[in-house]
Structures are given as structure tokens and as C-alpha cells.
């Protein structure tokens, strides 16, 4: 590649080089990677990092109140904005181990996060020193890769490689374990200029032309095509290409939980979420399809329900994913393409003939009418969907919405209602309760111009509620909606419906008064149990600059519907009655 030469031939005057400490090298490298925000918590083994941190005022350090919160915040920071990488610091031992769940969450959902953990001095590694634990061993299965740095010379190349690994291919979290003495050691530092190259980590291949033509042919021959999209579409930024493909060949398009937001819900070709708690009409469409196009998704058990019930009439399955290990893992495709979704669809689109299958679309519209996503008003109690409808009304197709795990998550996904692709963040793979609240703080810091709504149950919220202190200290403008049913709602629903109706350890009546709790942390806090108050409360929250905690006491017996009973097939879904 030819690059323009600068006008001046004169060499930069060589800056007087002084040796840098390992800690300073870390910050120089983070700046070189474009990092501006770090979530972290100090401790004995990363003190040298914190000693030098104030010398880098261009780096915004957010002192979280628990390392799990830090990992989720870094996840939310990265997940909410394409191209961003979340960075989190923790100390050795308990600090690092507290991040394991956060790393697992990011790993399952392919989120680029770089975690830098302090480790005891390299001379003490392996001696069971104070706050020493085997962090590499403990995080191996929940990171895309991890590094124990053993020489100061390796710090800079390791950080560069870590960012490269975290963001390339199928993204994921990477951990760097950095012994304390290396943070303090010094060396002359030269910024690297060569791009990172890993021989074991090739660029994703260009889509194979033969396969693309085969896929185009299958699309033109299909009479009952259905497309399903997952988070891979969002990671790759292929929302526009998906829309174009859907509209060119009139392919009804549904999505996974993690694919929610990638396709406009109001589009006439939009199906809905598929699977275990997906819409009935989507499941029927999948089960009747003759061609199934799966893009950027894993086909996990929440999508397929009982595997033998998934798409029984299908004649051809096309699976496009960047991770070869996802091809054929659960659902065996007839044609597969290992490629980035945007690249693959960009190459596929010119080969696809415009066409329309009126009959199939009419059939689906019929199912849409037979199986609407609906809820039931009961006894004048506030229904969670009423809260969500009011909230989505105020999103203006722009706001970033986060949901925690449980009933609140599925309600929020099913009622997500944008006219264009939008951002819906939740822990879909690991289902980590307590994810949404700290992640929402990362999402807001990553997107200061966007409104952020964080939906949570009262159970998940208290799992990471210590981050209220961070939110208030940093004045992070997040609107938190607690859908409070005074129970572990999804577990309660499962117990009621699948475990003999025996309610066991699900009563959360003893959760705190959330208004007093929020105010104790300095948050603006409100509560209601009346539908009429929801809109005005949301408006008040939006008008307020700073974090707001809203508690909604909802119908304690509100459940998620439709739902496929455990062990049953895709068409056995039970609907709201």
C-alpha cells in the first residue's frame, strides 16, 4: 500500500527518552489502542498501575464498587457501541476472581473486553503468596485467550495482541495477568508500529463464490423461506444488508434473544423472537419453512427447544457464521459459510433475484393474527408490559435498552418496538442476574448522547446494587426501571408450571424499600403501582440529569407467554390466557 508522505522531510527531534515503568507502558499502550475509559478497582497487586494512573488524565477511570460490576460495565461499554473495547482493572486473588462471572458473560455473548489483573510479583508466583490465585487457570474457560506476562519487554506486545484478539473474528474477552514487580520495573519504550499478526489466527476467509451462488439459488427456489438472525449480525454491523436481503426476496425474518434490535420490529417482514419464549407465529413459521437462513447465531437450546422439533419441514438450512465451530454444532446445515455476516451478505445480495411468495407471507400474517404477543390485564394490577410500552414510546427508536435476566428480560425483548435497528443489551448466553445495572453504566459512558434505560427485576438489581454509588459519584444518567414482583419471577413461573406448583425459595417480599435505598445512595428514586403514574414518572426521569431509580410494583402473578414447556417442542408453546 502506498501511503502519502508527510510534507516535511525533517525528522522529528528525538524526544529525550526516559525509561518507563511497566505501569506507564500499560497506559501508553491503552492510549494507542484508543482507550478512553477504564473500569477498575485497586488493590495490593495493581498499586503501581494506580500510582501512575493520575499522570494520564486523558484516561477516565471509573471506580466501580465491585469487580463483577467492573467487568459488566466494560461489557456494556463495548456491547453498546460497535468497535469499542471495554477495559477493566482488578487486583490479584479475590479482585480477579470476582470478575469471572463478568468475563463468562462477555465470552458467551462475544463481547470484546480486555481485563488487566494485578498478580503477585513474578518471583512469588506459585508460592501461595497473599492474595495470590491462579487467575489464568480460573479464567481459561471463560476468556477467548489469556496471558501471564513474565517479562517487562512483553507488556507492550501482549497488550497489542490482546486487543487484536479481543476485537477480531468472533470477539471475546481477553485477560492479561500482570505481576506487580513488572509494573514497577522500567525499560526504554518504543511504541510499536507493525500490525499484530498471529499465525494461528487468520483473517476470516472471503466468502466462497460457489456457495454464495448456491445460497442465491436456494433463495430463488424456496417457497417458504425464513431468515433468523443473531448477535453476529449486530457485531458485524450487517443490519442494513439483512434488511436488503429480506426485502429483495421477501424473506420473513425473526431473531434470537441476542439478535433483538437488529431488525425493525415494525417491518412488514419482521417475525419476532424465536424459540423457547419466542412468539408463536415465529415458531410456526420456522417449523413450516422449506428454507432456513441462519446468520450470526449459535442455534442454542433456547432457540431450538427440543432439537428434533426444530424446523421439521425444512429442505435446506443455510448457516452463515464467522466461527467455524458453530457450524453443525447443534443444527447441521446443508450449506454453510464461515464468514463475517456483513461481508457474506454484501457478496450475496447482487446474486439474489428479487421475488415474492404471496401465499407464504399471507400464511404468516394469518399466524401473526392467531398468535399475537399479548398480555392480560388482571385485577387492576400494574402489568409489566404497560410499563415497557410506555418506556419504548419514549425511546424514539434511539435509546439503548438493557434488560437483566428473568421475566423482565423476556418481556423487554418481546415488547421491543423500534422502527429501525436499535440496541438491546442483555446477558443472553450465561443469563447472568445482576448484569444490566452495571452494564448500563458502561453503555451510557460509551454513548453519552443516547438515552439509556435499564430494566431489571428486583432480584437481579440487588445482586449488583452497590454500583449505585458509582452511578451517583459519576452522575451517569441512566434510567433504571425495576419491575418488582416481590419474587424470583421466572423461577416462580417454572415452579408453578413445571415443578409441581411447589413454590420454593422464590419469595422476595423482604427486598428493601427501593425509594429509600436509592435515596440513601443519592439517586433520585420513585415508585408506583398504578398504570396512570408510569408515563409521568418516566417523563420526570428523562427530565432529570443523573441516575434515576424507578420501582414499579407489578402484578406478582404476571408470567411470560408464550413459553414452550421444558422438554417440549417448538410448536408446543403455551400462550397467555
Amino acid at each position: 500500500m502506498i501511503q502519502a508522505r508527510p510534507d516535511t522531510e525533517a525528522e522529528e527531534p528525538a524526544a529525550a527518552k526516559r525509561p518507563l515503568t511497566g505501569a506507564e507502558i500499560v497506559f501508553e499502550c491503552l492510549l494507542a489502542e484508543g482507550v478512553s475509559t477504564i473500569f477498575g478497582y485497586p488493590g495490593g497487586a495493581n498499586l503501581p498501575l494506580y500510582q501512575h494512573l493520575p499522570s494520564y488524565p486523558q484516561l477516565h477511570h471509573v471506580l466501580v464498587r465491585h469487580e463483577q460490576g467492573g467487568a459488566h460495565a466494560a461489557d456494556g461499554y463495548a456491547r453498546s457501541r460497535r468497535g469499542a473495547v471495554g477495559v477493566v482493572f482488578a487486583t490479584s486473588g479475590p479482585g480477579a476472581l470476582n470478575m469471572v462471572t463478568g468475563l463468562a458473560t462477555a465470552y458467551a455473548d462475544s463481547v470484546p473486553v480486555v481485563a488487566i489483573t494485578g498478580q503477585v510479583a513474578i518471583t512469588a508466583v506459585g508460592t501461595d503468596a497473599f492474595q495470590e490465585s491462579d487467575v489464568i487457570g480460573s479464567t481459561m474457560s471463560v476468556t477467548k485467550h489469556s496471558y501471564l506476562v513474565t517479562r517487562i519487554e512483553d507488556i507492550a506486545p501482549t497488550i497489542r495482541e490482546a486487543f487484536h484478539v479481543a476485537r477480531s473474528g468472533r470477539p471475546g474477552p481477553v485477560l492479561i495477568d500482570l505481576p506487580k514487580d513488572l509494573q514497577q520495573a522500567t525499560m526504554e519504550f518504543e511504541p510499536a508500529t507493525e500490525p499484530v499478526r498471529l499465525r494461528s489466527f487468520p483473517e476470516p476467509p472471503r466468502p466462497d463464490g460457489m456457495k454464495l451462488r448456491r445460497i442465491a439459488q436456494l433463495i430463488s427456489e424456496a417457497r417458504r423461506p425464513v431468515m433468523l438472525i443473531g448477535r453476529g449480525v449486530i457485531i458485524s454491523g450487517a443490519e442494513t444488508e439483512v434488511m436488503e436481503l429480506a426485502h429483495r426476496a421477501h424473506i420473513p425474518t425473526g431473531w434470537t434473544l441476542l439478535g433483538t434490535g437488529a431488525f425493525p420490529v415494525r417491518d412488514p417482514l419482521a417475525l419476532q423472537m424465536v424459540g423457547f419464549m419466542g412468539a408463536g407465529f415465529t415458531n410456526r413459521a420456522v417449523c413450516d419453512a422449506d428454507l432456513l437462513i441462519l446468520i450470526g447465531m449459535r442455534c442454542d437450546d433456547r432457540v431450538t427447544t427440543r432439537l428434533d422439533s426444530f424446523a421439521p419441514r425444512v429442505e435446506h438450512i443455510v448457516h452463515i457464521d464467522i466461527d467455524p465451530a458453530e457450524i453443525g454444532k447443534n443444527v447441521v446445515p446443508h450449506v454453510s459459510l464461515v464468514a463475517d455476516a456483513k461481508t457474506a451478505l454484501g457478496a450475496l445480495l447482487p446474486l439474489v433475484e428479487p421475488k415474492r411468495e404471496h401465499e407464504w407471507l399471507t400464511t404468516i400474517d394469518q399466524w401473526r393474527e392467531e398468535h399475537p404477543i399479548r398480555f392480560v390485564h388482571r385485577n387492576g394490577l400494574l402489568q409489566p408490559q404497560e410499563v415497557l410500552i410506555e418506556m419504548y414510546r419514549r425511546c424514539q427508536d434511539e435509546a439503548i435498552v438493557l434488560a437483566d435476566v428473568g421475566l423482565n428480560q423476556i418481556w423487554a425483548a418481546l415488547w421491543f418496538d423500534y422502527r429501525k435497528p436499535g440496541r438491546f443489551l442483555n446477558s443472553g448466553g450465561t443469563g447472568t442476574m445482576g448484569y444490566a445495572f452495571p452494564a448500563s453504566m458502561g453503555a451510557k459512558l460509551s454513548n453519552p448522547d443516547k438515552t439509556v434505560f435499564c430494566i431489571s427485576g428486583e432480584g437481579g438489581f440487588v445482586m449488583n446494587m452497590q454500583e449505585m454509588a458509582t452511578m451517583v459519584e459519576q452522575n451517569i444518567d441512566v434510567n433504571v426501571l425495576i419491575l418488582n414482583n416481590a419474587s424470583l419471577g421466572m423461577v416462580r413461573q417454572f415452579q408453578d408450571e413445571f415443578y409441581g406448583g411447589i413454590r420454593s425459595a422464590v419469595d422476595l417480599s423482604f427486598t428493601p424499600d427501593f425509594v429509600k435505598l436509592g435515596e440513601a445512595f443519592g439517586m433520585k428514586a420513585m415508585t408506583t403501582d398504578r398504570a396512570a403514574d408510569v408515563g409521568p414518572m418516566l417523563d420526570e426521569a428523562l427530565a432529570h440529569h443523573g441516575p434515576v431509580l424507578m420501582n414499579f410494583d407489578i402484578d406478582r402473578d404476571a408470567n411470560v407467554y408464550p413459553i414452550v414447556p421444558l422438554g417440549k417442542g417448538m410448536l408446543d408453546f403455551v400462550e397467555a390466557s
Binding site: 485467550h145 484478539v165 494461528s200 487468520p202 483473517e203 421439521p312 443444527v331 447441521v332 446445515p333 450449506v335
Partner: protein
């Protein structure tokens, strides 16, 4: 159906790589029959030879999961390919004067070598395929086996166009360097799948 599969893997010669590879196999619930690891002509690269008892589809999944590891450079499921797959057996036999000649006759037939000899016992070295080593051990059993150490198989593909090679950056990158047991564009549906 489960069968013995032979995976040949080139990995970075770094600490912890064995742990990562073993973990990735364990994570999918597969049992490793044997695993041997040693240096290659390139000091930065080690070769692992892994035998696992799994079905074809599981082997494909294990192979793909291993290929994803940053420290795994290339991986090939060489089961059924033209390979030389040998292992080394060291066996200490009960071999007093009365039976020593009979033991040594069999050792000769298997082209083994006596590497240590004592009054009551001998240590014999035999190399070859796993099947050959198994057969040898069976024939030794009546004489009284005192101790056995086996290396596990190491393997190379026969012929000039060996399948395993390091990726060359300068070449336009093609499909990742994985050779799954079945082409992923099979038009025929795998019966182990759901469709």
C-alpha cells in the same frame, strides 16, 4: 459411533498450552486416550498427537474448538489418512533364566530391543502402531508383566504433501487451516443431526 480418532496438532511452544488444549477437550466432555507432545524442528512450535474415543461429529466439534485456541496453529484429524502413527513401549518383564529365551524370541519377532537386563527381569523396548504394541503386550502377559510405560502415539502424514503446515501470512488467507472430517458443504444431511 465412537471410535479412536487421531488428531495431529501444531501448537505454540509456550507455557500453559497443554493445559489449554486438554481443557478444551475436557470442556466438550471427551476423554483423552493418549496425548504426546514434543518439540519440532522449529523451536517455537510443538507437535501434539492426541487420540480420543469419540464419534465423527464430536471429533469435528473437538477439532474446531481446538482450532479456535490462539495457541493452536494448525490441527488435523488424520484418522483414516495415510499416516505413520507409532508409539514407544517400555515393558519390564518377569524373565528368569527358565523363561528368558521364550520372551526374547517374541521380542525378536516384534523387532524389539532389550534395553536393560537383570537377574530376574528385562526391560524391552518396542515401537510401532498401537495395535502392534497391544498385541505384543498380550503375548507377554503369560510370562508376567512387572511394569508398562507407553508413550502414546506420535504421527505424521505420509507422502510429499504433508497436510500440516504453518500458515503463511503472505498468502491470501483461505479457509482457516482446519480439515474437518466432513466437508461443511455436504448436501447430504448428517443423520446425527436433527433434520
Amino acid at each position: 459411533m465412537s471410535q479412536s480418532r487421531l488428531l495431529s496438532v501444531l501448537v505454540e511452544n509456550k507455557p500453559g498450552v497443554l493445559n489449554r488444549v486438554a481443557s478444551a477437550v475436557r470442556r466438550r466432555g471427551f476423554n483423552i486416550d493418549s496425548l504426546s507432545v514434543g518439540p519440532t524442528d522449529d523451536a517455537s512450535v510443538s507437535r501434539m498427537t492426541i487420540t480420543v474415543q469419540v464419534g465423527r461429529q464430536q471429533a469435528e466439534q473437538a477439532t474446531k474448538q481446538l482450532a479456535k485456541l490462539i495457541d493452536v496453529i494448525t490441527i488435523d484429524d488424520v484418522t483414516g489418512q495415510r499416516v505413520v502413527a507409532h508409539e514407544l513401549l517400555l515393558i519390564r518383564m518377569h524373565a528368569p533364566h527358565s523363561s528368558r529365551r521364550d520372551v526374547l524370541d517374541i521380542v525378536d519377532i516384534f523387532r524389539g530391543r532389550v534395553v536393560d537386563i537383570a537377574v530376574e527381569s528385562v526391560i524391552v523396548e518396542v515401537t510401532g502402531s498401537t495395535e502392534k504394541v497391544d498385541n505384543f503386550i498380550e503375548l507377554m502377559r503369560p510370562f508376567g508383566i512387572k511394569e508398562v510405560a507407553r508413550s502414546g502415539a506420535v504421527a505424521l502424514v505420509r507422502g510429499d504433501d504433508a497436510r500440516l503446515r504453518l500458515l503463511d501470512f503472505e498468502l491470501p488467507s483461505g479457509e482457516p487451516e482446519i480439515h474437518p472430517v466432513s466437508g461443511d458443504d455436504d448436501e447430504a444431511v448428517d443423520t446425527t443431526g436433527n433434520v
